[in-house]
Amino acid sequence: MNIYLYEVKTYFKSIIIWSLSILGIMLMFMSFYTSFASDAALMDKLLQNYPEELLKAFGMDSGLSISSILGYFAMIFLFVQLCAAIQSANYGFHLLSVEERELTADFLMSKPVSRRKIIISKFLAAFTSLTITNIFIWLGSFGSIFIFGGGNTYSIKNLILLLLTTTLFQLFFLSVGMIISVSIKKVRSVLSFSMALSFSMYIFNALQSILGGEILGILSPFYHFEPAYILKNGQYNMPMVAISIIVIIVSLASSYILYLKRNILSAR
């Protein structure tokens, strides 16, 4: 319990910054919605003139009109997902590598705790932190739509379905970050690793939209949990969701095994 509490405390600042930024992004983008919607017909026409590939890359080709609330929201949520991906990957790469990078492992591991307890406490602390951010995402979604939605109706069920995927989406990046960090000798810079992971996933999904086919999509949780798909169809792309779940389980299990066996490097 003491490790868990200590870890949550160290995440505190980061949780606040990420949560407020995500909230800010949602409110800012949704505040433009009113002007979008008032010229709905014009807007749809304008977008038709853009190259199809560009629309696809930004998730605006789902058939949901960009002038409808959820059509517009799908586009925003892609940015929210990108933020959540970076945050989750940050924590994933950080949590098992920090003691070795900052050489505090000798302190923590010479205490009467098992590696098992250390990894579980650290994982739960990161997961708690992500869940707090997740709560802000829920509040931001409903809040911004309520404030700037202009009283237009939308499918609450579909929105809830989308928001429910955030936990899995976060776990994907958290667990993949963890397995990579324990598979390599040293994570020198967390941010470069997490940026590389989240942006490459984002780009895989964008490429998939442009090129078509599911091969590229299999790799990317941005495709597994594509906002436009869920908001339009009111259901999940089940085979893809299953892939995410498998990746999460395998990553967590192998991180656990590797961490228990790991030789902790010293300063020299």
Partner: protein, 290 residues
């Protein structure tokens, strides 16, 4: 009774040598010195005993329990001072020590303040603002606050000024009198001679010798360098003198015997300068443990 039993412990980092077939026992209540030059494998041995790294082969027991399987159980009674001290930089000293204490199921508050007082440690400062020596003090308090039965000190004196070093040695001796067993690693022979009952000497990953400190003190070598013109080499051809080297106007050798005798021998000639030194550990290895 043996507190530490090490049996043919071997550790390779990939292909690089860590330690090879290290075996020795540390008895209850003794201060056991572990001495060797840098990179000989002292830290590797200690970090293996703490399960920070896992042995390639061989095994070890502490308190009669298996170091890996019973690791968390064993570590309840171990105080460890790493050779390089690093702590969570953003924390205050007090918070770090409290965090450290929270791992032990007893109230360590009183002992924590006592130790901080002895080591003159300011508890209100941030770790990142501390000098190396002060961080070392944090390490000492952190390693001792739960009153462990076994202390593992990995080069504990580096970074401490002589005054603090003395206080620290007093502390170790005091703990030892209360029944604490100590494993004391160092590359400075004089330190070990001052504190320890027995020593293991490690070189290039292998134990060269395990010896009573009394035996080491009998062989009290001094390194003597004399400078002057027309030095008479023949005078120094006596059994107590070893490794005699003449170099222009300089004569150097190792001496083990009655110090008065050699002073008289030196005094019988005219010299410009004289140096009498404690031989370095490397020199002892080269000349003594050949």
């Amino acid at each position: 009774m043996n507190i530490i039993e090490i049996n043919k412990l071997t550790k390779y980092y990939g292909k690089a040598r860590g330690i090879i077939d290290v075996s020795f026992n540390v008895k209850k209540g003794e201060i056991f010195g572990f001495i060797g030059p840098n990179g000989a494998g002292k830290s590797t041995t200690i970090r293996t005993l703490l399960s920070l790294i896992y042995p390639t082969s061989g095994s070890a027991k502490i308190f009669g329990k298996h170091i890996i399987k019973d690791g968390p159980e064993i570590r309840k009674e171990i105080g460890y001072l790493p050779s390089e001290i690093f702590y969570y930089d953003k924390m205050k000293v007090k918070d770090l020590l409290k965090y450290s204490a929270s791992f032990y199921k007893k109230d360590c508050t009183k002992r924590m303040y006592e130790l901080a007082d002895i080591m003159e440690l300011d508890l209100t400062r941030r770790i990142e603002d501390l000098s190396y020596g002060n961080k070392k003090k944090v390490g000492i308090v952190q390693g001792l606050l739960h009153e462990p039965k076994l202390l593992m000190l990995d080069e504990p004196t580096s970074g401490l000024d002589p005054f603090m070093q003395k206080k620290f040695f007093d502390l170790v001796v005091e703990e030892n009198k209360k029944g604490t067993t100590v494993l004391f690693s160092s590359h400075i022979l004089a330190e070990v001679q001052q504190l320890c009952n027995r020593v293991a000497i490690i070189k290039e990953g292998s134990i060269v010798k395990i010896e009573d400190i009394k035996k080491l003190q009998e062989d009290h070598y001094k390194k003597i360098i004399i400078k002057g013109k027309d030095l008479d080499v023949k005078k120094f051809n006596i059994p107590e003198v070893k490794e005699l080297v003449k170099n222009n106007n300089e004569l150097s050798f190792f001496y083990n015997g009655d110090i008065n005798k050699i002073i008289q021998t030196i005094g019988s000639g005219i010299i410009k300068d004289i140096l009498i030194l404690d031989p370095s550990l490397e020199e002892i290895f080269i000349h003594y443990y050949k």
